[in-house]
Amino acid sequence: MACVAPDGSLSTSGRLLLEAVRPDSGAEDVAAITGMPLYRVRSSLRELTEAGFVSEQDGRYSQTELGVAKAKSGR
């Protein structure tokens, strides 16, 4: 995983990305906020979704309760 470590902690870019996910965000929205290349954002959103920090529906992303807690914890 690129932005989620095996112990569940987030890399710096993973944290930035999670914090940039607003309710019903598109990957392009997150890329605009973070300044990260779109391909990185798509890949990382997939990881964050698999880790349960983000939910996805029809290409739109939102933080899950776990994601909100993770973003607040700063780890």
């Binding site: 995983m1 690129a2 932005c3 290349p37 779109l38 391909y39 990185r40 798509r42 890949s43 990382s44 997939r46 990881e47």
Partner: protein, 218 residues
């Protein structure tokens, strides 16, 4: 199966103007899919092996042109049949020894799935390494250009930039580009395919050698 089909099946060469083979691969930036690059131009390139001299000069050169590629909406993605740990160690070594940070991801294609799909291994040259291949893929995932260099010969970054410029100019203006074309040079207007169009061509204010070879400025 014909001889050509047998060869294609064995080597797995992709074809121009067809969708590039889809992939999902472990990279130095995590798992990436070809679809992740949708909307951007992509240069997928292979190198024979990490910690080798020509490849090191190429990676530094690719890093150098990366800002110019980004201006053209183009991403870079490297590949070799090495592990991600080898890639990480090599990229860190390049930065430590030369000060050049490699800003693009590199596929760790240990199972050769991507290399096989793109025909990157040339058995006559090496059965264990990928040759120096360059694939230019457009924002819709269509393979638009291929360059193959042998193990001994490092690639020319000017040509790669020129190729991207030429493809993007051709797409944006429905034109072609002549030999040695550079941005700002005149472009070739597609040849007419009827006698009427050929006659009209002469009066169209183009710079024509003859009806089939006309240029214009953009």
């Amino acid at each position: 199966m014909t001889i050509i089909e047998e060869q294609d099946a064995r080597v797995g060469l992709p074809r121009l103007n067809e969708p590039a083979p889809a992939f999902e691969a472990v990279t130095t930036a995590g798992v990436l899919k070809l679809a992740d690059f949708e909307g951007s131009w992509l240069i997928l390139f292979s190198h024979p092996a990490d910690f080798t001299p020509v490849c090191t000069t190429e990676f530094m050169a690719f890093a150098e042109i990366y800002p110019e590629l980004q201006k053209r909406g183009t991403e870079l993605l490297g590949l070799s049949i090495d592990s991600v740990y080898s890639h990480i160690a090599w990229l860190r070594n390049i930065e430590e020894k030369t000060g050049t940070k490699i800003p693009f991801p590199v596929i760790a294609d240990l199972d050769r799935k991507v290399a096989t799909a793109f025909g990157m291994v040339m058995p006559g040259e090496s059965k264990t390494e990928t040759s120096r291949c360059v694939f230019v893929i457009d924002p819709k995932g269509i393979l638009r250009a291929m360059i193959y260099y042998p193990l001994t010969t490092g690639r020319n970054m000017d040509e790669i930039l020129r190729l991207v410029d030429a493809l993007q100019t051709a797409d944006a203006n429905a034109v072609a580009t002549p030999a040695n074309w550079r941005p700002g040079d005149k472009v070739i207007v597609p040849a007419p395919n009827t006698t009427e169009l050929a006659e009209e061509r002469v009066d169209a204010g183009l710079e024509c050698v003859d009806w089939y070879l006309c240029k214009k400025s953009l």
